[in-house]
Structures are given as structure tokens and as C-alpha cells.
Amino acid sequence: MTTPTHVVSAGADLFADAVAAQAVDVTRVDWRPPLPGTEADLAAVVGDPRRHAANEQAVAAMLGVTARLVDVAPASEVLGLQRGQFLHAGPPITWDRASGPMRGALMGGAALEGLVADPEEAVALFESGSGVELEPCHHRRTVGPMAGVVTPSMWMFVLEDTATGARTHCSLNEGLGKVLRYGAYGPDVLTRLGWMRDVLGPLLQSAVRSVRDSTGPVDVTGILTQMLQMGDEAHNRNRAGTLMMLRDLAPAMVASGRDSTDVAEALRFIGGNDHFFLNLAMPACKLALDAARDIDGSTMVVAMARNGTDFGIQVSGTGDEWFTGPAQVADGLYLGDYGPEDANPDIGDSAITETAGIGGFAMATAPAIVRLVGGSVPDALATTRRMHEITLEENPRWTVPVLEFQGVPTGIDVTRVCRTGILPQINTGMAGAKAGVGQVGAGLVNPPQEIFPKALARLAERARAHADQSD
């Protein structure tokens, strides 16, 4: 056997020292004990003979998806959403446990659909529970930012993976300030939502279809690739993405034959909302991750989502089960006079961007974002590097120039989170805890640690059951 040119040493420094003393390069692992109580489950899951291939398959499936914008249509049509049905961000939740912004958004949604005349009346409606149903967006192949409330009359972006025909959806972004997704439900909010339903939605549909049928549907994955090289990370910073999308759709919007005042209003609306592209970035990420679902033995996280009360993850090898814990309050900078006591716990399906390796995971590519969240540039680089410790692969399409075009950290591995104690890093906006207040700040947040050992335990059960069957 030839002399090794390199040794990786995990454990006692003394053995690494001995290798170095023999003039061979050694890399020392900074090993620490895993999260308490996870040792046995880790051995069971890592020892599962299906795991390695299952994870390779999951990553390949995810990286093989190209998301294209094929349509814009009402939720009643594309999701079969019926009167009284409400989708929301995060894992399943009931009205009684919902936080301020979530309640506010549901109340506004109820008024929008005409279930009540005044949003305030919706409280009694939801408390009674009669004639209303709440369901996570994720359960209907949809994602929603912040409260993420979807009602039947809302127009949805429809993204498709042409290879498989699989689809995901997301509503249109209302803009900043007092908006439904932050739990505001005043007359301005409802008026704007009405305009989006009557003018913006149909106009976008026309443009999207026209582009689709002429030069081919807008390649959202491709826009994400370019955005990441332009200082966007697709969660808190979507400016370049929004402008590129506008560039792709504007001519068709103008040529749609609709009233030029409406077209101008729509262009101004989109152009003035730096977060418009978020509602395309999110379903593009979900489309990629959905392709990796339900692979036996895979330890890859396929969804991270918050409903303002709970933070939940879903894992490829454990089907639709949600592993939940308390949503945390972000740590960052506050707008105006707001402070930590004003902030609601973490909310929104937008953590799907981090799940796909962008957002907080790609912080190194968007150093400008760190000032917004109160960090420094070295922090941004260190964060992306740290996320590589808990992911399976690097994304060959989405790369970070300042890290020598290293691909973004892709495929969060439950076992690696439990082994290292490193939690996924999310960049997020903060909603005011009182419904209707709107955004109070932006910052950094993690999932609650406990959900990863929970997911690991279920994976371990399945690994042991599989081992028993094979014996």
C-alpha cells in the first residue's frame, strides 16, 4: 500500500501530532460529542445501509429540477381551494394557538372572501370553527411568506418542473409595510388585495402565458442562479431577481392589450417592491425539494416552515410527518422605535429558501444583508462556511463568487445537525406580535434545537424496523 499523503484525524490530538511528526499532512477534526441523547439513534441511522444512496438520490433529484413560471391563476382553480378554506404558513395550527399576525391575516382573508363584512367579526367565526378550515400551504404544494394566508380568490404563481410535470404555487407579494402577510387587515390592505385580484393577477396571467407560449416559460431557477451572483440571497434580498423578472415579463405586459394605466400601475407596483421575487424564489425552492421527498433512508430535510407559534421540519425519509418545537424570536435590528418585546416569534414558509441552500445559507454572497441583520462581513462568510458542515453537497448551479464560486450548502442532513449541534441559519423579517403592526425588524434566527433529535429518533425507528425485516 502506498504511503498516505494526507490523514484526517478525529479524536485525540496526540495521534494527529504523531502523524505530523512523520512529515505527513494532517487535518484535525474539531470533534465534540453529539446533542445529548442522540448517540444511539445516530449509530442506527448512519448505519442504515440505505442512507448513503438515498441521500445521493435525494440531492440529485433536488438539483435536477428546473422551475419554470407556467401560469398565474386563482387558488380556487389551481388548488381547488373552496370557500371557507384557508391555507397558512408553517406546520398545522389551530386558531386558539395562532399568534397575532397569523390571526390578523386570517381575519383579513375572511373579509376578502366575503365570509364576514368586517374583519373583526371573523374572530367569532374562527373561534367557532364552523364553516372554516385551516391547512398548511405545504400540504397543497404551496408556500406562503410570513402568515402565508391563501384564500380561493387569490391569484397564484404556478411553477412547473418540465421534466416531471410537478408543480408548486405561491401568492403574489403585496409589498412592504401594513400588508396582510404581516397580519394587517385594514381597508387599505383589502383594497390592495382587491386590485391584485382584479387587475394584477389577470395581467400577469396574460403576460406569463404569452411568454410561455412564445419564447418559453420564464426560467426561475436560472434567475436565482444569476441573482446569487448579484448580491441577492433570495430570502431577505430579492431586488436583482425582481428586476430580472420584470425585464422578462414587461414587454408582454405592455403588449397584453390591457389598459395602459393598469399596466403602468402594475409595473410601478412590481418595480417598487424589492421583495416581489420572493414569491417566485420560494415555490422554486419548494419544487426542487419536493422532488426529494419520500426516499426511504434519506436524512435530508425537505421543508422548514413556521406558523408564528411552531417551527416545523419535514424529512425525506419520514414522509409527511412534521417535527415541531417553539418558533424562536429573531435576533437583529429593529425599525424605528420597535424593540424585542414587539417582535412575534418566527413566521413564514420562506425558510424553504434556506432549506434549498440559499437565504441565510448563502449569506456570503449577499454581504450587504448583514448590516440589515446586525452582523459583519466576516460573519456572513463564516455563516455560509458553517452551513457546509451540516449539508450533504454543494449546488453546482448556485455558486458564491467570493468563496471562489463554491456551490451553496445543499441538503440539510439531520444527522449532521445532531452530530455538530450547528443549527440551520435563517435570515428573516420580523413581524410585530400585535396583528396589523407590520414589519418591526429583520434578523437572524434558528430552528429550536429539539426538533432535530426528534426527527432523528423517527429515522432511527425506521432504520431499526428495516434492519429487523432484513434479518
Partner: protein, 486 residues
């Protein structure tokens, strides 16, 4: 005396046992500190602490770091605690590599940074499978020094490795030499025509030392872990190791060193070896079989090389009192070999790794009988540094054996090489000089070992020991010195 005892628990703080050994030593040297121990709260360490007179809180777990100090008086506490912090920080300081790049946190992440090379795992046994599997997933060979790895996990690793044509050296593999690079406790050897497959660390090291003295080089010595040739594992790693050595053009003769495997495993092994292009010599250490030195002589003869007279330096005088031979070993196989030789002449020998269950020693390791103790056994190293690094426990028992009037002759092994104590003769010498009984030492090492073989021999001889390169030779000599006493 106003002595003050201070015991504190630090949950979640962690450092490996060797690092904590260094920290404890540093703290013991501070002004006003009468006694100190900084260790993880494993069962064994708690026992040690209790014996030292410290009260360890009953809810302490193995994930807690214990800082125990005995001070001359209370005024020394603050400085002593500051000293503890300093020592912990110093011990944990790593040389920083390229700025901004933090050290990798898993073997997987480290291997991504290294385009080739193998992994060496010495984390606690319960976490060894996870790190080792990282190596196999990256298509690399792995050496697992860690012990206390469950059998089913060993099987999982070795089955995976077999599927992928990779080699798992271990678990519980203390020694390997891969193309001249020593891993774990290994010696610096000349390159040459011998390849070794070893289910035993110190057995391998004895071979390396004897061959090196005979001027015969070793290309590689691949450890397979103590359980590889069991009926359950059936030699999965042994087979792969044989394949690798057979394929190496520099290897002209392969030696397999092990305890005798289960019959069906032995038969399979011989059949497999017969199918190889390279001749294989089996050195299976057991009752009625050749010892390691005899096996080495056979290897030399098969290679057409001269068998030297194995070196002996210094002269011990015959025992004048006591009836029992007491062996204190750091190498398990060396202890085994000594026991096999001694029992056939002197009768039953008691041990913590006895040749049969009724000869087992109690926890105090003492008996009114011949005794041979392996201080490297799992039970004595849980949460504690191996005796090849930390001589404390053996030195303690050496003093007890010398004070015991029934002790006639003392037999010790000293194993040199990478990873081992840098100057064992300096620690043992004074202890040996204080012993009135004859002391025979088996000093296993090569000329090029970092400790400096020659200097170690001289120092031990100066302390009054008779020093042999051959453990079998040392054992026979110790028995000879017993004549008339037992």
C-alpha cells in the same frame, strides 16, 4: 491544616482524556495546590476522585467535566481556578490555519478538504461508527483506534467496507503502519519485504522491533482490530488486508499475527491465503504454539535471513525473597505471551485478562499468586488515557508490588514509538531503582523510534533493570530468576 477541597461540575464542557491529563498535570504544579484532577465524570474517574478524598455530586454524568482541587488553604482558590482556565485554554488552542477557515467539525467535512488520504478515528466508541462511516462514504480507508464499539456496528462498518473494496482497521486497533507511516502507537521501521496483518497492537509492535533489529524491513503492518477473526466477523478486514499486501509488489512475505481464531474462521483464512501469490506465515499466539519471538525467527528463516541473538543489556540478580512473579504490562498481547510462557513453567497466573475465567483478579488487581496485569485493558482505560501515554496507574501498582513481600521478581514491558510517552525511562527509572526485587524489562522499540532506543536502554539499565528486546526472552529470564523462590 486549613486544607480546602473544591469540586465543581461543568456540564457540556468537553475535552479528550489526553488533553485533560495535561491540564491536570499543569494544575497540580500550581502554588498552593496539594492535589488536583480535571476529568470527565466517567465511572472510573469518579472512583479515582473519591479515592482521592473528593466528594463528587451524585448527579454527575459522563458529559460533565469535573474540576477537583485540594488547596493548602482557601486563599489559594482564586489563583488555582485561574490556573485551571489557563491550562484548559492552552490545551485547546490549535494552530490556526488559513484565516477565517474554522476547523472542520466532522470527518466528512474534513475529507472534503483532502483530495486523498485515510481517516484515523479515536473518538469515544459510541460515536466511532458515525465518523468512520464518513470515511467509507468518501471512498477512503479508515483506522479506528476507538474501543467499546458494539459488535453489530463493527459488522455494519466492515460489510460496507467489503462492498466498496475499502479497509477498516479496527475497531480497537492500536497500531498500524501504512507504507511506512505509523498510525496510532506505531514504530519507525525500515522499508522492506515483510507485510503484517495484525489483530493485536503490541503483538505487531514486538514483530516490528525484532525484525528491525534483524535488519529486515516492513512495508506495511495493517491492524484489523481484536475481534476481526471472531466467529461473528469472520475476518472481513483480514481478508482485505491480505489482498492489499498481496497486491503490493514490495511485499515478499505476509505475517498474520493474532490469537488463534475460531476453527471455522481459521480454515477459511488458510484457504484464502493459499490462493494468494504471496506466501503467508501465521503467528497465532496460544497455548502450545510458538511465541512471537519464535514466529519472528521463522519469518527470518523463510526469507533466508540470519537469525540474530536477541539483545539483552544489564544483569538482574536472582530473587532472594518472595514467591511470586508479578508482571505489569501496557501491551495486552505482551501480557498474554508472558502468561502463556509463565503458566507452563510456574503454574496458574492470575490476571485481569486471565487465560481462563477462574484466574481472574478482583478490582484491586492483587492476589496471593503469580499475577500479570494488562493496564491497557478496556476496563482500566475507560475515560482515561492509555498506559502508554499515562504511566500513573502502573507506577502506582509497581510501588505496591515492590512493597509486597510476596513479590519475588517483577516483569515490565516498555513500548516505544509514535504516540507513546516521550521518555518512559525517565518515569520508570526512579521507580525501578527504588525496587529491591529483580526487575526484568521487555523494551519493545526500533532504532529510529522518537524516544531513542539506545538512551532508553541505558537509563533503564542504570536504574538496575535487565533489558530485553524480546518479550518472550524477558519472560523466560524472569522465570529463571525465580528459581528457588516459588
Amino acid at each position: 491544616m486549613n486544607t480546602l477541597s473544591h469540586v465543581e461540575l461543568r456540564p457540556g464542557a468537553y475535552a479528550d482524556s489526553v488533553t485533560l491529563l495535561q491540564v491536570s498535570r499543569a494544575v497540580q504544579g500550581l502554588d498552593g495546590v496539594l492535589a488536583a484532577q480535571v476529568a470527565m465524570a466517567t465511572g472510573l474517574n469518579v472512583e479515582v476522585l473519591t479515592e482521592m478524598g473528593f466528594e463528587v455530586p451524585p448527579d454527575a454524568t459522563t458529559n460533565d467535566l469535573v474540576v477537583a482541587l485540594r488547596l493548602a488553604d482557601a486563599s489559594a482558590l482564586e489563583a488555582a481556578l485561574a490556573g485551571v482556565e489557563r491550562a484548559l485554554k492552552d490545551a485547546n488552542r490549535r494552530e490556526s490555519g488559513p484565516s477565517e477557515l474554522a476547523a472542520p467539525r466532522t470527518t466528512a467535512s474534513a475529507l472534503r478538504r483532502a483530495p486523498e488520504g485515510l481517516a484515523l478515528i479515536s473518538v469515544p466508541g459510541a460515536s466511532a461508527l458515525v465518523e468512520a462511516m464518513d470515511a467509507l462514504d468518501a471512498g477512503r480507508d479508515v483506522m479506528i483506534f476507538s474501543d467499546n464499539v458494539p459488535l453489530d456496528q463493527e459488522l455494519t462498518l466492515k460489510r460496507t467496507a467489503t462492498e466498496r473494496g475499502l479497509l477498516v482497521m479496527g475497531p480497537d486497533c492500536g497500531t498500524a503502519v501504512v507504507g511506512g507511516l505509523g498510525l496510532g502507537f506505531a514504530n519507525t521501521v525500515q522499508p522492506g519485504p515483510v507485510g503484517i496483518v495484525a489483530a493485536s497492537g503490541t503483538g505487531c509492535q514486538q514483530l516490528l522491533a525484532l525484525l528491525d533489529h534483524a535488519g529486515v524491513g516492513v512495508t506495511s503492518a495493517l491492524g484489523v482490530g481484536g475481534r476481526d477473526l471472531s466467529a461473528e466477523v469472520r475476518g472481513l478486514s483480514t481478508r482485505e488486508a491480505l489482498r492489499r499486501l498481496d497486491a503490493d509488489p514490495a511485499v515478499e512475505l505476509i505475517v498474520v499475527v493474532s490469537k488463534p481464531p475460531a476453527e471455522e474462521v481459521a480454515a477459511e483464512l488458510r484457504a484464502y491465503s493459499d490462493g494468494l501469490g504471496t506466501p503467508v506465515e501465521f503467528a497465532l499466539l496460544g497455548a502450545g504454539r510458538p511465541d512471537l519471538t519464535a514466529a519472528t525467527e521463522t519469518v527470518l528463516t523463510r526469507l533466508g535471513r540470519e537469525v540474530p541473538t536477541w539483545p539483552v543489556t544489564g544483569t538482574a540478580t536472582a530473587a532472594t525473597s518472595g514467591q511470586f512473579l508479578r508482571g505489569l504490562f501496557v501491551g495486552g498481547t505482551l501480557c498474554d505471551e508472558a502468561m502463556l510462557i509463565a503458566s507452563s513453567v510456574l503454574g496458574p497466573v492470575r490476571s485481569n485478562i486471565p487465560l481462563s475465567p477462574e484466574l481472574a483478579l478482583g478490582a484491586d488487581l492483587a492476589a496471593a499468586d503469580h499475577t500479570m496485569v494488562d493496564f491497557g485493558d478496556d476496563a482500566l482505560t475507560a475515560g482515561r488515557a492509555h498506559p502508554m501515554i499515562d504511566a500513573t496507574l502502573r507506577l502506582d501498582h509497581l510501588a505496591r508490588a515492590a512493597a509486597d513481600e510476596t513479590t519475588a521478581v517483577i516483569l515490565l514491558d516498555v513500548v516505544l514509538g509514535h504516540g507513546s510517552e516521550p521518555d518512559p525511562a525517565a518515569l520508570l527509572g526512579p521507580a525501578i531503582a527504588a525496587v529491591r526485587q529483580p526487575v526484568v524489562v521487555a523494551l519493545v522499540g526500533t532504532d529510529a523510534d522518537p524516544q531513542g532506543l539506545e538512551g532508553q536502554v541505558r537509563a533503564l539499565v542504570a536504574a538496575g533493570a535487565e533489558v530485553h528486546l524480546s518479550n518472550a526472552g524477558a519472560t523466560r529470564r524472569a522465570i529463571e530468576l525465580m528459581k528457588g523462590q516459588s
